[in-house]
C-alpha cells in the first residue's frame, strides 16, 4: 500500500509519509506566499511615484546600505544551504553552526533594515507620508517581518535539535525552515531590483 511507505533510504526528512506530506504542504504554502507578495508588488507598482509632499525615493535610497543588506541576505541563503548540506551528511554540529551563522546574517540584515526605516522617517518619509511610502513600507516591512519570523522559528528548531538531535521530524523542520529562508531571499532579489534599483534611477 502506497499510503504508508516509510523508507529507510534517501534524505531523513523524506523518509516518512508524514514528512513528505509536510514538505509538499509547505511548497503549496510558499505558492500562496508568492501570491501574497505579488499583490504587494503590484500595489507598489500602481502607487509608484505617488509621493505627494514627501521626499521622492531617489532622494533617500542609498546604494551602499542596500548593497550591504543584499549581501547579508544572499550570503545567509548560501550558509543556509551549507547547513542543509551538513544535515544531509548527518553532522549535527555542522548544521547547528551554519544555521547560527545564517541567523546572525539575518539579524544583521534586520538591523540595517530597522536603521533604514528610522532614517527615512527622520527625513520625512514614513508610513502615513504618502501612498508611495505606504506601499514601500508595507512591502519591505512584510518581507522584514517574514525574516524576523523565520529567525524566531529557526531558534525554536535549534532548541529542538539540541533536545532531540537529528531525527526524521527535526530534519524535516530544518528543511522546511530552509525552504522558507531561501524563499525570503528570492523575494528580496525582487525588492532589490524593482524597489531600490528602479527607485534610484526613476
Amino acid at each position: 500500500m502506497s499510503a504508508h511507505t516509510d523508507t529507510n533510504t534517501g534524505p531523513l526528512e523524506y523518509r516518512s509519509k508524514e514528512g513528505r506530506m509536510n514538505i509538499l504542504g509547505f511548497w503549496i504554502f510558499l505558492g500562496a506566499e508568492v501570491v501574497l507578495f505579488s499583490t504587494l508588488f503590484a500595489t507598489y507598482a500602481v502607487l509608484f511615484g505617488r509621493t505627494a509632499d514627501a521626499p521622492a525615493p531617489s532622494e533617500l535610497f542609498e546604494m551602499p546600505m542596500v548593497l550591504i543588506m543584499t549581501f547579508l541576505l544572499l550570503t545567509s541563503s548560501f550558509t543556509c544551504g551549507i547547513a542543509i548540506h551538513h544535515m544531509r551528511r548527518g553532522s549535527l554540529k555542522g548544521l547547528v553552526v551554519w544555521l547560527i551563522v545564517t541567523l546572525a546574517l539575518g539579524l544583521g540584515f534586520l538591523g540595517f533594515e530597522i536603521y533604514e526605516f528610522v532614517h527615512y522617517a527622520h527625513e520625512g518619509a514614513s508610513l502615513p507620508s504618502s501612498a508611495f511610502w505606504s506601499a514601500f513600507f508595507v512591502l519591505t516591512g512584510t518581507h522584514g517581518l517574514h525574516v524576523l519570523l523565520g529567525i524566531s522559528w529557526a531558534v525554536l528548531i535549534l532548541i529542538q535539535l539540541r533536545q532531540r538531535g537529528l531525527t526524521p521530524v527535526t530534519s524535516r523542520k530544518v528543511f522546511v525552515v530552509g525552504l522558507y529562508w531561501h524563499f525570503l531571499d528570492v523575494i528580496w532579489i525582487f525588492i532589490f531590483t524593482s524597489v531600490y534599483l528602479i527607485g534610484m534611477v526613476v
Binding site: 499510503a3 503549496i28 500562496a32 502607487l47 509621493t51 502615513p128 504618502s130
Partner: protein
C-alpha cells in the same frame, strides 16, 4: 462614569428596538446553553468530543451546523430587507440600518454560510471518497475550523457591540475608509474576514495535499470521484485567491488604523485600487462557492440516474478551465468605472468564455440523465431544479458580461437577480442537495422524504417568485441597495416579498425535518443508503473514527460500484493492521480564541490588548512547535470489535 458613557454610547448599539430584542435573545440563548450544558454535565463531553477534536468528520459537522446558523442570520437580514422594500415609503428600517443589513447579509452569506457549508461537506466526504483515514494535516484542519468560527463570531457580534459595517459586502473605498466611515463597524468586516480567511487558506493547502497524497492504492487522479476533483480545483483557487484578500484587507486595516494612504483620497492614494484587489479575489471566490456545488450535483445526478457520470473527463477539464478563467474576469464587476474600451472588451470576452465550459457541464448532466432510470428522491429534486434555474442565472450573466449593455444593468436589481440565481440555485441548492444526500452517512438516518419534498417545493417556488421579478425591476430602473422604492415598482416588489416568505417557510421546514428525522426516521443498517457509486458508501454507518478498516485496491472509476459488483469489502480480516491516528488537541481552539481577543481589540483600536492577544497566539504556536505527540495506534482487536458491531445489521 466615563466607562459607563463609553459603554452606552459607543460600545453597545443603542436606540434600535429590533436590536434590543436581539440583545435580549442573545443573552437568553447564551444562558440557556450554559444551563443545559451544566445541568446535564456536558461541559467535559463538549470539550473532549467537539472542541478539541481533529476528526475530519466531526469538524465537517461543526462547519455545517455553523453554516446553517449563519444561513438563518443571513436569511433574517434578507427578510428584513424584503419587508422594507415591499411598499413605497416603508419606515421599518431607516437608511443607515438598511445599509448595515445588506452589508451583513452579503458578507455572511458568502463568507460565513456558502463557504463553510461546502467546506463542511468536503471535510466529511472527501477523505471517505478517496479512502483516507483523515486529512493530511488534522491539527491544521481544526485550526481552520476555529479560525472560521471565531471570525464569524467576531463579525456577528458587530450588530450589538459597536455597530455593523455598512459599506456593502464589497466595502468600496473611499466610502469604507476612515474619513467617511470612522469607528469600529468597518473594522469588524476587516478583522472578521481576515481571521476566517487564514483558516480558508489552510483548508485549501490541506485538501490539495490530502487529495494528491492520500488516495487509496490504485485510485489514479482520473479515477477520483467528481466531488473530490471539484474540491481539488476549488482548493487550488483558494490558495491562489485568498492571499490577495489577505493583502487587500490588511492594506485597508493599515489605512484605517495606522494612517497609511493606499485607498484614501489624500496622500495620492487610489480608492479604485481596492475594487481591483477585492475582485481579483472576489471573482475566483464566486467559483470557490460554485465548483464544489457542481461536484455535488454531478455525484447526485449520477447516483439517482443510476448511470455512470457522462463525460467525466470533460467535467474535469471544464472545471480546470473555469478555474483558470476565474482569475482573468475581475474587471467585469466595474465596467462602469471607465477603464476604457480595450480593457472592457478584453474582460467582456473572457467573461463570456466562461459560459463555454459551464455549458459543457450542463450538457453532461443532461447526458448523464439521458436514458437513465431516474429516481426522484429529494437530493435529486434539488439537482433537477438547479439546472434550469442556474441556466437562467448564467444566461443573464452573459447579458451582464457585455460591457456596453452593462452600463444599463449595472447596479440595478437585474444584477441582484442574476447573482441570486447563480448563488442560490447553484450553491444553496447544492448545499441542501449535498446535505440531504450525505445525511444518512453522517447521522445514520435519512431526512424524511415527504417533509423534505415539501420544503423543497416551498423553497424552489419561493425562490423563483422572489427573484425572477427582480430582473424586471432592474430593467425598470430600480437601483441595487436602495432602501426605499418608487410606487411604480410596488407590484413586483410585493411579489418578491411573497417569494421570500415562501423561501423562509421552506428553510424552517428543512430545519424541522432535521428534528423530525432524528426522532422518527428509520435507522440505516447498511452504509449504502442510496445505492451509491463512490467510496464513501463503502464504509459502515456510523463511520468508525478511522474510516476504513482495510482499503480495497481501486481498479477503475466508481470504486464502490465495482466493489459491489465483485463483492469486495472495506473489512478484510486477514489484511487488518494497527491503524495510526492523530491525537486530539485543545491548542487550535485556544489559539483562535486568543486570535479573537487580539482582533476584537484591533477592531476597537486598543493596540496594547491586541499585542497581548497576539503574544498569546504566538505562545500557542511555540507550544505546538515543541509538541512531538505522534498520535496513537488503534489495535487490531479494537478494529475487529468496532467493525463487528457496526456490521451486525448488515448480514
Amino acid at each position: 462614569m466615563d466607562l459607563l458613557n463609553f459603554l452606552l454610547e459607543d460600545f453597545f448599539v443603542t436606540g434600535q428596538p429590533l436590536i434590543y430584542g436581539a440583545m435580549v435573545s442573545i443573552v437568553l440563548v447564551s444562558f440557556a446553553i450554559v444551563f443545559v450544558l451544566t445541568y446535564f454535565k456536558k461541559w467535559g463531553w463538549l470539550w473532549r468530543e467537539w472542541l478539541t477534536t481533529v476528526d475530519h468528520k466531526k469538524i465537517g459537522i461543526m462547519y455545517i451546523i455553523a453554516a446553517l446558523a449563519m444561513l438563518f442570520r443571513g436569511g433574517v437580514d434578507a427578510l428584513m430587507m424584503r419587508v422594507q422594500l415591499t411598499l413605497p415609503g416603508m419606515e421599518f428600517l431607516d437608511s443607515q440600518h438598511y445599509n448595515e443589513i445588506f452589508t451583513t447579509h452579503g458578507t455572511i452569506m458568502i463568507i460565513f454560510m456558502a463557504m463553510p457549508f461546502l467546506i463542511g461537506l468536503m471535510n466529511y466526504i472527501v477523505p471517505l471518497q478517496i479512502g483516507a483515514r483523515d486529512v493530511a494535516f488534522p491539527f491544521l484542519n481544526a485550526l481552520s475550523f476555529w479560525s472560521f468560527a471565531f471570525g464569524a463570531l467576531l463579525f456577528n457580534i458587530s450588530f450589538v457591540i459597536g455597530g455593523s459595517p455598512d459599506a456593502g459586502w464589497t466595502s468600496y473605498t473611499p466610502m469604507a475608509g476612515a474619513n467617511l466611515n470612522p469607528g469600529p463597524a468597518q473594522n469588524y468586516y476587516l478583522m472578521g474576514l481576515q481571521v476566517s480567511g487564514i483558516g480558508t487558506l489552510a483548508t485549501g493547502i490541506n485538501f490539495i495535499v490530502t487529495i494528491l497524497k492520500m488516495r487509496a492504492p490504485g485510485m489514479h487522479m482520473m479515477r477520483m470521484p467528481i466531488f473530490t476533483w471539484s474540491t481539488l480545483i476549488t482548493s487550488i483557487i483558494i490558495v491562489f485567491a485568498f492571499p490577495i484578500l489577505t493583502v487587500a484587507l490588511a492594506l485597508m486595516t493599515i489605512d484605517r488604523i495606522f494612517g497609511s494612504h493606499f485607498f484614501t483620497l489624500t496622500g495620492e492614494g487610489m480608492p479604485m485600487m481596492w475594487a481591483n484587489l477585492f475582485w481579483l479575489w472576489g471573482h475566483p471566490e464566486v467559483y470557490i462557492v460554485i465548483l464544489p456545488a457542481f461536484g455535488i450535483f454531478s455525484e447526485i445526478i449520477s447516483t439517482f440516474a443510476r448511470k455512470q457520470l457522462f463525460g467525466y473527463k470533460a467535467m474535469v477539464y471544464s472545471m480546470v478551465v473555469i478555474a483558470a478563467l476565474s482569475f482573468v474576469v475581475w474587471v467585469h464587476h466595474f465596467f462602469t468605472m471607465g477603464a476604457g474600451g480595450a480593457v472592457n472588451s478584453f474582460f467582456s470576452i473572457t467573461t463570456m468564455l466562461i459560459a463555454v465550459p459551464t455549458g459543457v457541464k450542463i450538457f453532461n448532466w443532461l447526458g448523464t440523465m439521458y436514458k437513465g432510470r431516474i429516481r426522484f428522491d429529494t437530493p435529486m429534486l434539488w439537482s433537477l431544479a438547479f439546472i434550469p434555474c442556474f441556466v437562467i442565472g448564467g444566461v443573464t450573466g452573459v447579458m451582464l458580461a457585455m460591457a456596453a449593455a452593462d452600463y444599463q444593468y449595472h447596479n440595478t436589481y437585474f444584477l441582484v437577480a442574476h447573482f441570486h440565481y447563480v448563488l442560490i440555485a447553484g450553491t444553496v441548492f447544492g448545499c441542501f442537495a449535498g446535505l440531504t444526500y450525505w445525511y444518512p452517512k453522517m447521522f445514520g438516518h435519512k431526512l424524511n422524504e415527504k417533509i423534505g419534498k415539501i420544503s423543497f417545493w416551498f423553497f424552489v417556488i419561493g425562490f423563483n417568485i422572489c427573484f425572477f421579478p427582480m430582473y424586471f425591476l432592474g430593467l425598470a430602473g430600480m437601483p441595487r441597495r436602495t432602501y426605499t422604492i418608487e410606487p411604480e415598482w410596488m407590484p413586483l416588489n410585493v411579489t418578491a416579498s411573497i417569494g421570500a416568505v415562501l423561501m423562509a417557510i421552506g428553510f424552517v421546514i428543512f430545519v424541522y425535518n432535521i428534528y423530525y428525522s432524528f426522532r422518527y426516521s428509520k435507522r440505516e443498517t447498511t452504509g449504502d443508503a442510496w445505492d451509491g457509486r463512490a467510496l464513501e458508501w463503502a464504509t459502515t454507518t456510523p463511520v468508525p473514527f478511522y474510516n476504513f478498516a482495510t482499503l480495497p485496491h481501486i481498479d477503475g472509476s466508481e470504486a464502490f460500484w465495482r466493489l459491489k459488483e465483485r463483492g469486495g469489502s472495506t473489512y478484510e480480516t486477514d489484511k487488518l493492521k494497527p491503524i495510526h491516528m492523530p491525537s486530539d488537541s485543545g491548542v487550535p481552539f485556544i489559539m483562535m480564541a486568543l486570535m479573537f481577543v487580539a482582533s476584537f481589540a484591533l477592531v476597537w483600536e486598543w493596540i496594547t490588548l491586541a499585542i497581548v492577544g497576539l503574544i498569546g497566539v504566538i505562545v500557542c504556536m511555540v507550544i505546538r512547535s515543541f509538541d512531538y505527540d505522534d498520535g496513537f495506534y488503534v489495535s487490531v482487536d479494537e478494529i475487529k470489535r468496532t467493525e463487528e458491531k457496526a456490521r451486525e445489521g448488515e448480514q
